[in-house]
């Protein structure tokens, strides 16, 4: 079954959707959208280093993404103006990565695959790594869920309940780095952050509780992966942008649905 490249593509995409759903909710709740961008863009630098030193792309990207996430996290802790800092870091990392790749001798790298994803080229080995990474992140989220949620609400409140907010921040940082590394092949560095934010944002209007929002985000992510894969296959479009396009369409539909429901409720209320 895994010999079929379509099945591998679908499974890898679904695995990313499962990990990105709950993590994306925290990215939205904690207003870390740009943080996700910076980490994802740093992945290109990781690709360059991995190719240069001939180590695994997964290891290279997760290491650089983790470093970037930790730098951003440390700067945030010191009260830097995050908007500007993240803007500088995100784009510098991307630019530096692109320049570094161009320096690589004897390697003709197809950068589009890393920038926009290449889900149809996922190998069995890739699939294994993606599945393991996604399982790790999902388990981490499930294990720390209540502590993460409490720390997200209010750090002092978390402290009073015996939860160390700095540790929970670190959990999210590590989870983000892992998701970036495993989603690189599926979504591509430019749009990984979109895969975190859009399903969670689409789930918001329908969800009545944090858990429902996370599960809905997973479901929406899965729909986007399936739809995007079909689109990529039939129209020969790049996989990452296709998946994100479908996610955006689902988001718009959810928004319209919520507006209609609110209008109907208003009419009934009268």
């Amino acid at each position: 079954m895994l010999d079929d490249f379509l099945i591998r593509a679908l499974l890898s995409g679904l695995a990313v959707a499962v990990a990105a759903g709950p993590l994306g909710c925290f990215v939205v709740w904690r207003r870390m959208a740009y943080f996700g961008d910076a980490t994802a863009h740093a992945a290109i630098l990781g690709v360059a280093l991995a190719l240069g030193f001939q180590i695994s792309i997964f290891i290279g990207t997760s290491m650089v993404a983790l470093m970037m996430a930790m730098i951003v996290s440390a700067l945030a802790g010191r009260g830097w103006a995050m908007d500007t800092t993240l803007g500088v870091l995100a784009h510098s990392a991307l630019a530096l990565g692109l320049v570094a790749v161009s320096f690589l001798p004897n390697v003709r790298v197809d950068l589009t695959a890393y920038l926009f994803g290449d889900i149809l080229a996922v190998s069995r080995f890739d699939l294994g790594v993606i599945a393991c990474g996604a399982a790790l992140v999902t388990a981490l989220m499930a294990w720390r869920w209540r502590a993460l949620l409490t720390a997200t609400l209010n750090e002092d409140l978390a402290h009073a309940s015996g939860i160390d907010p700095a540790r929970e921040r670190m959990v999210l940082t590590v989870a983000l780095a892992i998701v970036v590394a495993v989603a690189l092949k599926v979504i591509g560095a430019l749009l990984i952050a979109a895969m975190l934010i859009i399903p969670a944002a689409a789930a918001r209007n329908m969800a009545r509780s944090p858990e429902a929002m996370a599960l809905l985000a997973i479901a929406i992510g899965m729909v986007a992966v399936w739809g995007g894969l079909q689109m990529s296959l039939r129209l020969d479009t790049p996989s990452g942008p296709s998946i994100v396009t479908v996610a955006a369409a689902v988001f718009a539909a959810c928004l319209a649905g919520a507006a209609l429901a609110a209008a109907a409720q208003k009419r009934l209320g009268r």
Binding site: V28, W29, R30, R31, R146, A147, L149, T150, T152, L153, N154, E155, D156, L157, A158, H159, A160, S161, I163, A200, A201, R204, A207, R208, S209, P210, A212, M213
Partner: protein
């Protein structure tokens, strides 16, 4: 005063943010069952003291000792819940420890808002929100309740009702209560001690219960049922030239100000 085994004790506590000392030389202890009110003007270090006692900020000097296994019920000054986070009250009360529906119902009834379990936190009024925060703090079976300006935004009857509620809770749970207030002169009448803070402890003492006095009526009107009391500041020291702290105005002046505006 306090027993040899206080719940929380601070000795020579000092806290500095970015090199600027906001709190210095604070000796403090609180026992089980005690109600202590900390008053002080804005920026006097009240919240910092609370955060240092909680263990959120590390003292730059001195030390804080908490009793072993101390359970703290903390009610923060402000709790901003992002609009992107759907959070029903019953879910909020189950953070970070899952609570049974029965316990949640009991806690909400105890704080006088029995019907809000299914509502989203974002839809609550200011008073309901404060009570939901208090209910969450109660669910941890606290040894001590720490409340940071819990009555902010409530009107005077609301403040009086909230103070009465705290007093009831203290009696039911036999916990200590440490309450921070920015109102320098009107405090909870049930407070055993009032500490006036302004970078250091300026003075402390018992509040003056004057519920029957005509001045009290003039100040508070009827209907607050003796939940409020006055605190008489006795600043017996002068600040040297290096200190930028002012003492709050003596209570007599404020009395007259308030009385004359009525």
């Amino acid at each position: 005063m306090t027993s040899p085994h206080p719940l929380i004790e601070a000795q020579g506590l000092a806290v500095a943010y970015r090199g600027r000392q906001v709190l210095g030389g604070v000796d403090f202890a609180i026992d089980r069952g005690e109600i202590v009110t900390v008053v002080g003007p804005n920026g006097s270090g009240k919240s910092t003291l609370l955060r240092a006692l909680l263990g959120v900020v590390t003292p730059s000097a001195g030390r804080v000792r908490r009793a072993r296994g101390l359970r703290i019920g903390y009610v923060p000054q402000r709790l901003h819940i992002d609009a992107a986070l759907p959070l029903p009250v019953r879910r909020f009360l189950s953070l970070p420890v899952r609570q049974s529906p029965a316990r949640i119902a009991t806690a909400l009834a105890q704080v006088g808002v029995p019907d809000i379990a299914g509502q989203d936190m974002a839809t609550l009024s200011g008073g309901q929100f404060q009570r939901a925060l208090l209910a969450r703090a109660l669910l941890s079976d606290p040894d001590i309740l720490m409340l940071d300006e819990p009555t902010q935004g409530l009107d005077q009857p609301g403040v009086a009702a909230f103070y009465k509620l705290i007093e009831e809770v203290r009696q039911t749970l036999d916990c200590a209560v440490l309450l921070v207030s920015h109102d320098l002169h009107v405090v909870m009448s049930a407070a055993d001690r009032v500490i006036c803070l302004n970078g250091h402890i300026c003075c402390q003492g018992a509040p003056k219960v004057v519920a029957r006095a005509p001045e009290y009526r003039a100040l508070f009107g009827m209907g607050t049922g003796g939940a409020l009391a006055l605190y008489q500041h006795e600043h017996d020291h002068s600040h040297d030239e290096n200190c930028d702290r002012d003492h709050p105005a003596p209570v007599e002046e404020i009395d007259q100000e308030k009385a004359s505006t009525r």
